[in-house]
């Protein structure tokens, strides 16, 4: 009799509370978006499934000695997983378009305005008393505007691990929503004629340039923003493996097995932060709002800088490619391309948008370094 009662009390049915049920529904929604709507499935699927597991009552999965907790301690609390993913992103990145037209990097800088505007926004919300974000937390939230998954996870793991779950969900969701968020903003800020601007063909980039670029980038980082060196260092290492041509074995494994294995483990570890008691707090709402604001201001800043550069440049620049400066590789570049095609069906912006797009990755990693230095 006693045993029956104890068993009944051990079931999930008995223990499940409302917040956990709500979180499970949220995770199922995220799974739906990942599978059916293909919202950044590579990370949202593991994150959402991890979130499901983290909200099962009566068993240690995301707590104590549970596997998700262990994965969190091994890979996220140490920042190892995001840095290895960033190495993989480096190995998957082709800097060709950027090297063909380096000045488009400025667009990748402009779009980071979103990060710092959001920093102020988060602090304002605290000043207004609506939320209670510390400077560190505000910085970790602001980086969502960097539109770069591993950078956001890295900064959150360093500055505000308690917000990691919400920041990850916001970052990856808005990255997936780029094709919905950016077009109205880009259209509002540009005339059809500007969107129809064709850009001149890109020059051929030599192999030696591609080999030297990651070294140059690392050197500049080391000299100016050492705090960004862990992120950009791993990124440049991945890219040098790719471009050097002498370690094809390592480059292939980095782009495939290694990055895939770490993605799975990272996703589950992030999912462990979707436990109801951590995620269903007011600050999550603030993070979701601020994340949207960050993407919007970043997009706007990129487009406006595009207009400015077009005015002062000899070769025409289509301001749409400024929107790609937020990163969200390659979604934002594709979105810019589609908007250009809409205005002129023969306009082919994709390659031109890839330059600011990857510059945006660099820009937000630099911003992350600055925020660590100033807020930590």
């Amino acid at each position: 009799m006693e045993q029956w009662r104890s068993l009944w009390q051990s079931t999930g049915l008995y223990r499940l509370d409302l917040p956990q049920t709500a979180m499970m529904l949220i995770c199922l929604l995220l799974l739906y978006l990942a599978i059916r709507k293909k919202f950044e499935p590579l990370l949202l699927l593991p994150i959402a499934f991890g979130g499901l597991l983290a909200n099962i009552p009566g068993v240690e999965i995301a707590t104590g000695d549970g596997i998700l907790r262990q994965l969190y301690e091994i890979g996220l609390a140490t920042s190892i997983f995001p840095l290895l993913i960033f190495m993989g992103v480096g190995a998957l990145t082709d800097f060709g378009p950027l090297l063909a037209n380096p000045r488009t990097m400025i667009l990748g800088a402009a779009a980071q305005v979103g990060i710092f505007a959001t920093l102020l926004g988060a602090l304002l919300l605290s000043d207004l008393g609506w939320f209670d974000f510390s400077l560190q937390q505000a910085a970790a939230i602001a980086i969502i505007g960097g539109a770069d998954g591993p950078t956001s996870l890295y900064l959150a793991s360093v500055l505000a691990p308690e917000l990691l779950g919400a920041i990850a969900v916001a970052a990856y969701s808005y990255m997936a929503l780029v094709p919905l968020i950016q077009p109205p903003i880009a259209r509002a800020l540009t005339s059809p004629r500007e969107r129809a601007i064709r850009m001149s063909e890109q020059r051929h980039v030599r192999r030696i340039e591609k080999i030297l670029f990651p070294l140059l980038l690392l050197l500049l980082t080391a000299l100016l923003v050492p705090a960004a060196a862990p992120l950009l260092g791993m990124f440049c290492f991945g890219n040098l493996m790719r471009e050097s041509g002498v370690v094809k074995r390592l480059s292939d494994t980095t782009q495939n097995s290694l990055v895939n294995i770490v993605t799975i483990l990272l996703g589950l570890a992030v999912g462990s932060r979707l436990a109801a008691d951590q995620f269903l707090v007011p600050s999550t709402l603030g993070i979701l709002l601020l994340g949207l604001f960050a993407f919007a201001t970043g997009t706007a800043a990129g487009v406006l800088m595009g207009k400015l550069m077009n005015r002062f440049s000899r070769n025409p620049i289509n301001p749409l490619i400024g929107a790609a400066g937020v990163s969200a590789v390659p979604m934002a570049a594709r979105t810019a391309h589609r908007l250009g095609e809409e205005a002129d069906p023969e306009n082919f912006l994709l390659m031109h948008a890839m330059g600011p797009n990857v510059a945006g990755v660099i820009g937000s990693a630099v911003a992350a370094g600055i925020l660590i230095r100033l807020a930590a």
């Binding site: 090297l99 192999r207 340039e209 670029f213 923003v225 600055i370």
Partner: protein
């Protein structure tokens, strides 16, 4: 009331400033690199951009397996020519 914002404002300006400075310097450095490698690269033997530059997959076994194959073919050839 604006305590945190006023604290954050210089930080934000400063941050976006560094991002711009960094990427502008990167533009300049990249341009310089492209020009210099274009001009001096050939002299340094860096220019001849042919695929042969890329090495064959350098698996350690390579030589061994190759040699085995060759060895077997020799053996077969020898047996074939009595």
């Amino acid at each position: 009331m604006e305590n945190l914002v006023s604290q954050g404002m210089p930080l934000a300006l400063f941050g976006i400033g560094i991002v711009f400075v960094f990427l502008c310097l990167l533009v300049l450095a990249t341009r310089a690199m492209s020009i210099l490698t274009g001009r001096f690269g050939p002299a340094l033997g860096l220019a001849p951009e042919n695929l042969a530059d890329y090495p064959a997959p350098p698996a350690q076994v390579a030589a061994i397996i190759a040699a085995v194959t060759m060895h077997r073919q020799r053996m077969r050839a020898r047996r074939a020519t009595p």
